[in-house]
């Protein structure tokens, strides 16, 4: 075995286990080669020092609960953003249903007017909200 191949295997052995054959060929090469022996010693010292140097810290015990709390906050915020739309849609459906039951007009006309009014008022409401947001941004 040549020195270059032996040194590659020495480096490889620090990343993962070598198979028996590779291990034996490295050992027999090292037994005869002073340069590769000191190469391995230096690599082992370096590896040990790096492993001791880079000990990963652990996450704090409150990590999960804090994250869960933040996610709940995000869910609430998302719901708050959608709430006016949901209330609007619900109101439109209820108003159309009431008119459908009580007004002496054809059901098709009630349904058409109900959908149209819900849509138009939704557009107006959205425009109003954008206008308010613009005012806040100024």
């Amino acid at each position: 075995m040549r020195c270059q191949a032996a040194q590659e295997l020495i480096l490889e052995s620090l990343d993962c286990r070598l198979d028996g054959e590779q291990q034996n060929s490295v050992e027999s090469h090292i037994a005869q080669c002073e340069m590769c022996r000191s190469f391995r010693e230096a690599q082992l010292v370096l590896d040990g020092a790096l492993a001791a140097h880079y000990v990963a810290p652990q996450l704090g015990s409150t990590f999960r609960t804090t994250l869960a709390h933040r996610i709940s906050g995000e869910k609430r915020r998302a719901l708050q953003e959608w709430l006016p739309d949901l209330v609007h849609l619900g109101g439109g459906i209820v108003a159309t249903a009431v008119c459908f039951l009580w007004l002496p007009v054809s059901p098709t006309a009630v349904l058409t007017v109900g959908i149209a009014l819900t849509f138009v008022s939704y557009v107006l409401q959205t425009m109003f909200r954008f206008w308010l947001e613009d005012l806040e941004g100024l």
């Binding site: 990343d15 010292v45 370096l46």
Partner: protein
């Protein structure tokens, strides 16, 4: 590997999928962020931010990249944004200076290791730091840096050779 998470997502069980994902990746993401920030309390905050972004984007995950690559990309981008914000805000105060890593046996002092690492090209240093922080998993390092495993190994080997040569020169 993340087939279970993908399956939960396809069943629109976002919260359950996130729970599994968090269990599987929280430590790895934390170590990745720590390797970039060098301070554990800031790393924990940024890890929280990264997982919040992951939670917000999870339903839209389209499966084009592997889930781990997608997660690590979000974590890395969040860390980079944090570093940029820090850079513009202020220079580091003493109190917030990078935390020393673990104390080392006298064979090679902490300062010596830092000096050896400082002489490496950025990509080799990044691979070395992550390799040891991620408990020697080449697969994880490759996923985190979005590099082939062979490239990670090659960076590792080059870095080790260079560091050992410098050690010899100093002795």
């Amino acid at each position: 590997m993340d087939q279970d998470i993908r399956q939960l997502l396809s069943q629109r069980q976002k919260d359950r999928a996130f729970e599994v994902l968090l269990q599987r990746y929280q430590a790895k993401v934390f170590r990745l962020v720590f390797s970039m920030l060098g301070n554990s309390s800031r790393a924990e905050e940024v890890t929280q931010d990264a997982f919040l972004k992951i939670w917000q984007a999870l339903q839209g995950y389209d499966g084009r990249a592997s889930l781990s690559t997608w997660i690590y990309t979000i974590a890395r981008n969040t860390s980079i944004s944090h570093l940029r914000a820090e850079f513009y805000r202020k220079t580091l105060s003493l109190e917030e200076a990078p935390e020393p890593f673990a104390e080392v046996e006298p064979v090679l002092s902490r300062i010596e290791i830092e000096r050896l690492l400082a002489n490496l090209p950025d990509e080799q240093r990044e691979v070395i730091v992550l390799f040891y922080l991620q408990e020697r998993s080449i697969e994880d390092v490759a996923a985190m840096l979005d590099l082939p495993e062979g490239t990670v190994k090659s960076h590792l080997h080059r870095a080790r050779k260079a560091m050992a040569t410098r050690m010899e020169v100093r002795r």
